[in-house]
Symmetry: C2
Subunit: 443 residues, 2 copies
């Protein structure tokens, strides 16, 4: 097979399962650097494209225990850049509660420190509670958040272009430190931000860090189609994933990009046993330790409605869209309807995978499933979540990855050194170099 799949690992604090941290072999992940180094190095040994750290700028007190406490993602990426040499390093940063100059600068810095391995998952922030941490009355509405995000990413790109390649001359003889003709002043004035520039760091090795996105609403998809290079999908059903991927490819095309300019990466949570039985026992063991209140909070958070208001043993009710997290809500309601789940069953399903697709079986079965989704075009790759750390993450690398390599579906070694190269994404040329014309240059 010509095309090979992309694989990343989603590292969610203590694991994706609400009770994952209680497993006998579980270690606390969120503030445990040696553990994170161990798992990330394992992912690198498996030649995975990237590791990804989700984030929120509030304490998810009411939700997942593994998401309450964690390292700040930008400093974490910088630290992990020193403990690895090839794997991509991706983190979420919201565009709602920070300044584009600061974030563009931090990502440029991480891209330099890691020699071209940074990725930015652009989110607009799914928790309205964050507003109270940032001197705001309220979380901006969905539509406005995306308008801000669009402007924000455009500014970041403009700032990353501040110094064209070759701008830093450093000619000791002639005493020329920089070439001012290669310095570009952004001078952005827009509805939400005014940012002059230039940025005080040279262009990132990748041109721009890779832009990830996970929006699932129509507005989110428009943004992704125009801007994102990797999109996280949370589809649970293959034909829905295919429809989603094609819709996204259409949007990319409509925005003047190639259909394959966006890689669709589906989140999956594999639970692997030596036999299917054993895998099911692991799920049962996790379920037995589950705090059902916490699980209901996770589900309520994903659906954007307090689900305690509904009867547990009746079918999942129809819900109006909430303006938050529409993606997960659509996917979870869809699988509940298709599989005729009760609310209790959906709660337990979502508890294992944090709302992502659950795969329970042998390594061979997991590999079969990923192959099937990949060949169908429903996914360009997968983002693997682990119920807890480090065991399940290591097991995926040890048992599933070699099967995918054997089948010619995944690389046996890195062929490039940057995240863009792993993902088969082009390095964006500097606009001035690309057009050959001179941009607005400061005097």
């Amino acid at each position: 097979m010509d095309r090979t799949m992309h694989l990343g690992m989603i590292l969610l604090g203590a694991g994706s399962h609400v009770a994952g941290w209680r497993m006998p072999d579980a270690q606390f992940g969120s503030q445990n650097l040696p553990l994170l180094q161990r798992v990330v190095q394992k992912a690198e040994a498996g030649k995975l494209d990237f590791v990804f750290f989700a984030d929120a700028v509030n304490t998810g007190l009411d939700a997942h225990p593994g998401m309450m406490l964690r390292f700040e993602p930008l400093t974490l990426l910088a630290a992990l850049a020193m403990s690895t040499s090839r794997i991509g390093l991706v983190a979420t940063v919201s565009t709602t509660y920070s300044e584009p100059y600061n974030i563009a600068r931090a990502f440029a810095s991480i891209d330099h420190l890691s020699q071209g391995r940074a990725g930015w998952n652009v989110v607009t922030g799914s928790s309205p509670d964050a507003a109270a941490n940032f001197s705001r009355d309220k979380h901006p509405p969905h539509e406005e958040r995306y308008a801000i995000a669009e402007e924000y990413v455009a500014i970041a790109k403009g700032l990353w272009d501040s110094w064209q390649e070759g701008a830093l001359v450093g000619d000791k003889e002639k005493g020329v430190f920089v070439d001012p003709a290669k310095m570009h002043v952004l001078d952005h004035v827009g509805p939400h931000f005014s940012v002059k520039g230039p940025l005080n760091i040279t262009r990132p090795p990748q041109g721009y860090p890779v832009i990830f996105q996970a929006g699932a609403s129509d507005r989110g998809l428009d943004f992704a189609g125009a801007t994102a290079e990797v999109v996280f999908a949370a589809q649970q059903i293959q034909e829905e994933a295919l429809a989603f991927a094609n819709k996204l490819r259409d949007k990319a095309e409509a925005a003047g990009r190639a259909r394959d300019a966006v890689k669709v990466v589906c989140g999956v949570s594999p639970v692997i046993g030596r036999t299917e039985e054993e895998a099911k026992e692991i799920v049962a063991e996790l379920a037995s330790m589950m705090d059902t209140q916490a699980a209901m909070r996770v589900l309520s958070d994903r659906l954007g409605h307090d689900m305690n208001a509904f009867p547990l043993d009746e079918p999942v009710p129809d819900l109006p869209p909430s303006g938050m997290m529409q993606g997960h809500a659509i996917q979870l309601t869809s699988i509940a309807r298709r599989k005729k789940m009760t609310l209790r069953q959906l709660r337990d399903y979502a508890a294992v995978s944090s709302g992502h697709r659950l795969l329970v079986g042998t390594a061979e079965q997991v590999a079969d499933d990923l192959e099937d989704w990949f060949r169908s075009g429903a996914a360009d790759g997968f983002a693997i979540m682990s119920t807890h750390l480090p065991g399940p993450a290591e097991r995926f690398v040890d048992e599933v990855v070699p099967r995918l390599v054997e089948r010619g579906l995944f690389r046996s070694d890195y062929t490039g050194s940057t995240l863009r190269e792993h993902l088969g994404l082009p390095r964006p040329a500097h606009p001035a170099a690309a057009t050959g014309r001179t941009m607005h240059i400061s005097g």
Copy 2:
């Protein structure tokens, strides 16, 4: 001698001298990770208390070539935390153009990643140009900047106290992840910020990262007296430094703190030769490569006035205070007056040391000078700047530090593991633990 001095290294991009980067043995420092790792590891081998990275959130185009381009400091500290194990890691972050939640979080993260080695140099931002990068009409006035800074640091401390020691229980048997009684909600509402909390990371290993400050105006000194644990001074004359240090100790006392709760660290820029002659030749070599325009821009920046308006070969004019960088302005005008310098002489003086005190001589002479200042009480320690990197920084560690150790003025090995321990500063107890009373606890 009982009391020993504190030593840190100031790493200013390509070096403190405007022409430092042109020296034959100079390497570009600002975006050169291997070079920074080498110098920081050397400082650690010399058992220095800390390395410090200055910062600004704009491109100092008109000023120092070595300050134009640099790593973003928080990501840089996180990376260097992985390359070192004992030395303190300090960076400047302005309180004018960022959100306290984000910065408190990043510093907590660095303190965890480095196991208690983070320090924050709180500045209000000395360049008015930064405003244009942050959707602002203008740089807030001096007084308001300090009012913001005070509120900002108080919020950061409140956020660092979100989780009292022992809050993260992680009892797998009982299924208790956190102890809610040890979680504290800040609920800050003030003139500049409203920040609810709690922070989504546990209390930093040091309680709070060490608070550095470098303000020199009366307003800056009030802030430092009440809040700072280390103060950078730029005094050029010993009796002025002593007066400054005593004034600061008075202010600390007035704020209800111990006189020695604040360590005064004087910035010095040593140029070391095997003989005094050789040291002077190095200064002359640097001067010969100096871009006099750039040097005048550095001086203008330090003085807060465009000095090109004044005659070069006449005495330095009297200038009204500018609202920017009053500290450097006062010190430089003071030494100019005392040494009866012309504007040209002051320009060349400031060019070598970036406005800090210049020491030209043998390692023995440099050690003598530092000993003298230290014994007089004018300084609790010194922050060493190098004209360029890595030679002069390494020479200081190899030649001056052993002399200070021999004289009993500096440690021969680390006795503690955190920056607080190196500096002899107490670890702030959690307010709830300190008073024994229960704080405002979220329901």
